[in-house]
Symmetry: C2
Subunit: 178 residues, 2 copies
DNA sequence: TTTTCCATGTAACTCGTTACATGATTTC
DNA sequence: GAAATCATGTAACGAGTTACATGGAAAA
């Protein structure tokens, strides 16, 4: 659903062939969307069969011929439908890392602590990456902003957790909610 | 991976049959993990074949017989392996909702605004739910804490976005990063 | 008496990834 | 001459979901 929305939205701003689309997604949206090339080609082909996009073959010099896609009226309608549905809902994220955290006490503290430190290092690296990401035009910039905002929040949380687990007064228990 | 970690970790705290596991996950971890019953049964069966757990059939009264699983030494080793890998890494979350946000300006503002308001309402509802979630024993409580922390951060972010989009001075442009 | 609970599964399907194939052309 | 770039795909696989099947017992 959201992948089609992504592709249709990109095509709405201008015709593109698959390779360019993939390039753009990989270079400029790598941190936010995870869409493999084969998947993109597959989705473009399916949207073609559904009539959401149309293609015209082009060639330039000795390059392989390429399918340039452009969005159709049906595709535009579908885009609007998908966009409305997307904007109106909130899809909560899941954190597989929390499962491990839930079993933190299954490991001796001296072994568990450095592991969480490694997690924090990985998180910090992602945050630096996100902060260095190339700026986007228009509303697409929100995506990058959100990533930074979120990763900062995550780092804050992880620091709290680590501090609480390191504190010798509490016996590795998270704060109660009563 | 993380699902196996979840199941092994639960079995580590005490033998259980599939139905009870599913019950616990659905009742007490619904907000944090999304694991369907069939998937749980399938994973239990596979872990059985892999020797990570063993099963003994029990019956009680006129009830259907049940497979009570307990973790094996191999399973414990695997649990530790999975736990270390999980704790040491950070798996970044993706936000499909951001794709829609990135195309916010494709809709007339009067139509887009209430859609985002609906998103915020959905988010608020999830937050209330998370705050009302039953408390957990030990380190598992971190999972609930994280969910609340994260949803609060998300709400803060969304409020910022909505405020910025509503503000008539800026032309629906997110803050630049220079 | 119909519904719900207990308890376990199978089969078909969707979605997406991985690995691979192709072949010309430009760059090192 | 080797490697990377351009450009598009296919085939096989894996993870997970959906829908369905079963069948006795307890509750409404």
């Amino acid at each position: 659903m959201d992948r089609e929305l992504l592709l249709l939205g990109l095509l709405r701003r201008g015709d593109m062939h698959g390779y360019r689309l993939n390039e753009f997604i990989e270079r400029d949206m790598a941190s936010c969307v995870d869409l493999k090339k084969s998947t993109a080609y597959f989705l473009l082909d399916r949207m073609l069969r559904q009539g959401w996009v149309a293609a015209s073959e082009e060639r330039e010099g000795g390059r392989p011929p390429r399918q340039v896609y452009h969005i159709t009226p049906d595709g535009e309608a579908e885009f609007q439908r998908l966009l409305r549905a997307n904007l109106a809902t909130y899809q909560p994220a899941l954190f597989p890392g929390d499962i491990g955290l839930g079993y933190y006490d299954a490991l001796p503290p001296d072994e568990a602590r450095p592991l969480l430190a490694a997690r924090r290092a990985a998180l910090t690296a992602l945050l630096d990456e996100a902060r260095a990401a190339p700026p986007h035009a228009g509303a697409l910039a929100w995506i990058v902003q959100h990533r930074v905002y979120h990763l900062e929040s995550e780092l804050g949380w992880l620091n709290e957790v680590i501090a609480a687990l390191d504190s010798p007064t509490l016996v590795n228990t998270p704060p109660t909610e009563n």
